[in-house]
Every structure is written in C-alpha cells, then in structure tokens.
Amino acid sequence: MLKRNKLALFGLIILCSLSIAAVLAPVIAPYDPSEIMENEIQRPTVKHFFGTDDLGRDILSRVLYGGRISLSVAVVAVLVALTIGILIGAISGYYGGILDEIIMRFTDVMLSFPSIFLILAIQSMLTPNIYNVMIVIGATSWMGIARLVRGEFLALKEREFVEAARAIGASNMRIIFRHILPNSLAPIIVAATLGMAGAILTESALSFLGLGVQPPTPSWGNMLMDSQTYLLDAPWMAIIPGLFIVMAVLSLYFVGEALRERLNPKE
Amino acid sequence: MEKLLEIVKLSVHYHAKDKIVKAVENVGLTVNEGEIVGLVGESGCGKSTLALSIMRLIDPPGSIYGEIRWRGRNLLNIHEKEMQKVRGEEISMVFQDPFSSLNPVFRVGDQIAEVFRYHKGSSRRQSWQKAAELLDLVHIKDPKQRARDYPHQFSGGMRQRVSVAMAYAMNPKLLIADEPTTALDVTMQKAILELLKELKTTMLFISHNIALVAGLCSRIYVMQAGRIVEEGSSAEIINSPKDPYTAKLVSSYKEINLEANRSQ
C-alpha cells in the first residue's frame, strides 16, 4: 500500500503515535493524572514537561489519559454510527420501494435537526458520562453513512455479479452481506475515518461545555474547559490539549482524504 | 502514388507505477494514397494505441519513440498548434464507441459545423449548410431536420454515421477507422462498411475481426503484443499466412464460419 501522499503519511504517523500513546498511557505517563502534585501552577519544566494545571496536576499525564478517552469515544461513537447507518442504508437501498421511502424520510428528518443542539438537549437530560457521550454521538451521526450505504446498494444491486448470485440461488441475506457489502467498503472506510475526526471534535465540545466526560477524568475537551480562566497566565493549559485535538483531527482528515482518493477510481 | 503515411520503428511506452508497459514496440507501417490498409489484432495488442499515436492523442505518462512521417514531415516533431491543423483536416479518425465520441449536450449539426468553423473559419450559416450536406452524404434521412437533433435521439448505427460525417467533413487525406463497427449490430456493420467504401478516402482500417478487414482492405498488417508479426496482401494473409498467430486468427474464424460460408 503505497502512501505516496506525504500528508497522508504524516497523518498516519501522528495517528499511530497518538494511538500507541493512548493505549500505553498507564505505562508512559510520568505521574497519576489526578494526583495533585504542586501548590501552584507550574510552567513547563523538566519535571512537568507540559506544566501543571491550576490544581497542580501534571498536564502531560492528563493529556495522555485524556487521549485514551477522546480516542476511544471517537472509535466507539463511529462504530455505533456505522452499525446503525449500514443496517439502515443496506435495507433501504436493497429492498427499495415503500420501505426505502419511509426510511429515507426518517433519515431526512434526523438530518434536519441541528445535531449539536440535539446532542446538547439529550445530554442535558441525562447524567453525562463517557458512555452516553459515545452513544449519543453515534446515534446522531449515522445519517450520512446510511445515505452513502444506500447509494452504494442502489448501484451495486444492479450489477451483474449480484444477478449471478441470485441466479445460483443465493438468499437476500447472503447477497447483502457476502456480495454487496464487501464491495461497498471503500466509501464506508472513508466516512468512518472522517467520522472519527468529527466525533473527537464533538466530544471535545461537549466536555468543554460540561456535558461530556466529567471531571476528574481528563479528556481533551474538559481540559480546555479548565483552562479558560487561565488563558493569559498559563496558556499551556489550553494550548496542549488544543494541539492534541488539532493533531488528531488533522491527521484523520489527511488519512481520510488520501483513502478517498485512492479508493475512488476503483479497480 | 504518394506515400502518405510512413511509420518507422515506432514504440510507445506507458509508465505505470514501477514498470514500463510496452504498448507498441518497433512498428513499421505504410499507407499509400488511394489504399485501404487493414490493421488486425486482438484485444490488448496495441492497435488503438498505435492509432492514437498517429493522431498524437497519447497523454503523458506515455513516451513515444521513432518516427511518424506524414507526407514527408515527422508528426512527432511538430508543434501542437500545427498538429491541430493536421487533425481533422489532413488526418481524421472515427472511433469505436458511437455513444461517447459525440458530445451529448450539443446538437449533431453543431458538432459537425464546428469542424468547418474551426478549420475554415466558415460562418454559422455556411457551416450548418455543410453539416446538412454531410448528413445527407452519410445517408441520414431528412438531414436538415436531423441536424437539429441531439446525439441521444440517434441510434448507435446512425451516431456512427454522424461520426463518419464529422471525420469526412474536411475531406481528409487519410481516415483512420478504429473498430468503427465493433459496438454496432451485425446488420449496421455492413451498412457502415459500405458507407466507408463509398467515400473512397485513403483509409487505415483497424479491427479485431479478420474477415471484416480482409473484405475491405487490399493490404493487411497483423499485430500481436505491440508488434507487427506479419504483413501482406489480403489474399496472401488469408490463404497462406506465414506467422503462427496469423494462421490462428484465420483458422479460428474459419472454424466457426466454415459451415456457414459453405452454404453461401
């Protein structure tokens, strides 16, 4: 798999590094992220590589643990969106007819809600925690995937190899899962990658507003929330998590775009 | 008899990833004025690449080596602007697919008229007049009316006639026909071949069907895997092929058509 695209290569490296750092956080982090170590805010020093926050907690450790949270939210949210989206899109696209009409109108309704408000509304009604953040983000971002998958199914079900499968006696289930779905992976993968970028941003926004991951569990978003009052005095409190968010999102975009280019003129 | 086209040691290489695809390798081919010369070969042999090279329609990353001498000049050395004058005026081409070689959003008359407006600077009225004449020449009924129609309103066979009209518009010295009947029904095939014969233009006729080529052409080149493997008069090629590939082409055709031919 040649990654001639320099940006994509760069993105992939960053992504891998972030993921490894997130997984190995308990091993790499120098300190406990909740441990109050100092009496006052420390600027970045050798002891605290990224400085400390207003409560004296080491930012490097927090940002590593925060990465675990943010990245796992992204992955699970996208998995939720994929599951719902693929199921709905496949059924709609494959069976067509009235079923397709109904499902698509429902999808349109969901799409016309400004999702961020929907999420805020739901989260404010529940007790926000990491789990419902994952589900809520996933449950409000499946629509694009459903449309995509429906489009792929509409096109692919007319292809001759699908007709051939029908001719040898394949059942609808077999055709959907063994024949059509494997051939529609390309746009799904692209959507998933870009979806993860979106999920990271959404989770950050939610946590920043206090409706996402609750303190003391660190997430990049709630670290930003804490940093608000100290922007001038201790800018590193905001810059570090912000930088990590940007790196994660950008690298996902680069990889996603490269995948889209590469997988597009297929075969 | 003027030697119109002389291809000397032509090679066309495409650069793909980390290897070089030699689409055309060391090809030599001549077309004299007044001849209908055939080029026969199967899929992937490079015949279309050869045709496109003559018209210099090969895009990078393709590299061309050798010479394509047209009436003395090497076409590979001239400026693109000069080549544009050659295309359409001196050498023109009829392509295989009548469905994609015409622009779907322009009227058929417009597309033919454009040839005159571009090459001769003719006025709109004059060029439309010429377009209608050409449509009549290729036996399209009600040519004036039909000129106002769009490509999708024509059948495949008729679209091919329109392509022939466009190619013939400037009375070119050489017409290259690249599998002009392959995408058409059998009955249309015959009609288009008759039409091409009627025009009496010097032609390079390219096809994978040896019978079609033999029926139309006086001389035949046989191409395989980028190379010319045999050359001769149609009678020689059909009756006493020297190259094993040529022999295979002829025998395959004969095998399927032997009984049919016997009953004619």
Binding site: E160, F161, E163, I168 | S43, H208, A260
Partner: protein, 232 residues
C-alpha cells in the same frame, strides 16, 4: 419431451414493449439458439426464463417444476459477472454450499480446462476467456438440467472464442445438458445449435432447424442477418 415451454410471454418496461407474445419450446437435450440484435428482447427473455425478472403477460412451463438448482445461466460479460472481491475458490464453492452439493472444486476447474492454481486468484487476475470458463464451471457445478448461455463468447477475442465454444459442446454431450444459446451472430449459432429462433423487436420472426434456416431462410430479416456475416 419439452423441457421448457414459453407461452405468449410479453414484457413491458414502461412504454417500451421488450417482448411481444413470444412462443417457443426447448426439447430436453437439445441446443436451442436464440439470435437477434440489440433491442430484440433476447436478453430480457433469458432473464424471464430464469425468473430473474417477471413477465408482464404469459407463462413458462417447466418440466418437473422450476428450481435454481436445475436452471442456470452463464452471462455475457466476463468482467462484470464475477464478484471482484471473491476468490475463485469462493465463487465456485458458493453454489455448492447453497444447494448442498458435494463436489471437489479442483475437479470443477479441470472440467473447464483450468488447473488448481486458479483457486487463490481474484477475477481481475484472469483473462476474459478464463473468467468465462469460471462462469461456466459455476453454472454446471450444481448439475442443472438446463443452462441459458447469454452471448457467452461475444466479449471474447475470436481466437479465444473457439476454445470456449468447443468446451461448451463437449460439456453438453458429457453432462447431457439442454442449452439455450443466445447470440447476435448466426455463425456461432450454427456452430453450436440444433434449432434456432430469430428475434427482432420483441418478436420471433422465424423458427426452424439450423440447417433449414441457413439453407432456406423464410423471413427477410433472417436473410439480412445471413447476408451480414462477413465472409473470408
């Protein structure tokens, strides 16, 4: 004995009448040809016979009833009729799994003159002729009674066509198959078939034994088709 009987079948797609009151039958064991150009309706007819689409009017009677196991098809386009993401082994195993037929896929490959090295390959690694052979292997694997061959060699080079046609002839006699052979080329039909029906614009204009139709064509369209065959 008639294996299938097509009775007054018509098919309408919106305004277009693709098939208009088509009647013919295919005897068990024979190779029946259906010849016509584009728009003749032959492809639509093939799909109706295989219940891939439904007729607007009329019916088809199948001796012993219809089942996917007994009635199979080989498609025209070797580039689109095989799933590009499935290996050859999986493509060949699928019909066997669906119908519970136990067969050795290597033997299937040998039946179509290919060796076992093809099992691990993907369709795009095979040539057109090889792909058609896989399509044929897939169709015969579950031992059908009847196979529709929808222009099986039209997309292939002539030097490759002969090989595939010979294979089909051989398989037909060995496996006692009944064939419906669809083509636009009368010479190929002559080579492969016993009887032929000539179609034009959704109608059958002439039927008869291949020898009769060739020697003494009755309909003007049949004559036109015969004349259009380029002679060497």
């Amino acid at each position: 004995m008639k294996l299938i009987e097509v009775n007054s079948v018509s098919k309408q797609f919106g305004h277009v009448k693709a098939l208009d009151d088509v009647n013919f039958h295919v005897e068990k064991g024979e190779s029946f040809g259906l010849v016509g150009e584009s728009g003749s309706g032959k492809t639509t007819l093939a799909r109706i016979i295989l219940k891939l689409i439904t007729a607007s009017e009329g019916e088809i009677v199948y001796e012993g009833g219809f089942s996917r196991k007994d009635y199979q098809i080989v498609f025209q386009n070797p580039w689109t009729s095989l799933n590009p993401r499935m290996k050859i082994k999986a493509i060949l195993k699928e019909p066997l799994d669906i119908h519970g037929v136990k067969k050795d896929v290597v033997q299937l490959l040998r039946d179509v003159e290919l060796d076992e090295s093809y099992l691990g390959k993907f369709p795009h690694e095979l040539s057109g002729g090889e792909r058609q052979r896989i399509g044929i292997a897939r169709a015969i694997s579950i031992e059908p009674k009847f196979i529709v061959l929808d222009e099986p060699v039209s997309s292939l080079d002539m030097t490759v066509q002969v090989g595939v046609l010979k294979l089909l002839k051989d398989l037909r006699s060995r496996l006692n198959l009944t064939l419906l052979f669809i083509a636009h080329d009368l010479s190929v039909i002559r080579y492969m078939c016993d009887r032929v029906a000539v179609m034009r614009s959704g109608n059958i204009v002439e039927t008869g034994s291949v020898t009769e139709v060739y020697k003494d064509p009755q309909h003007s369209y049949t004559k036109l088709l015969l004349e259009s065959i380029p002679k060497l």
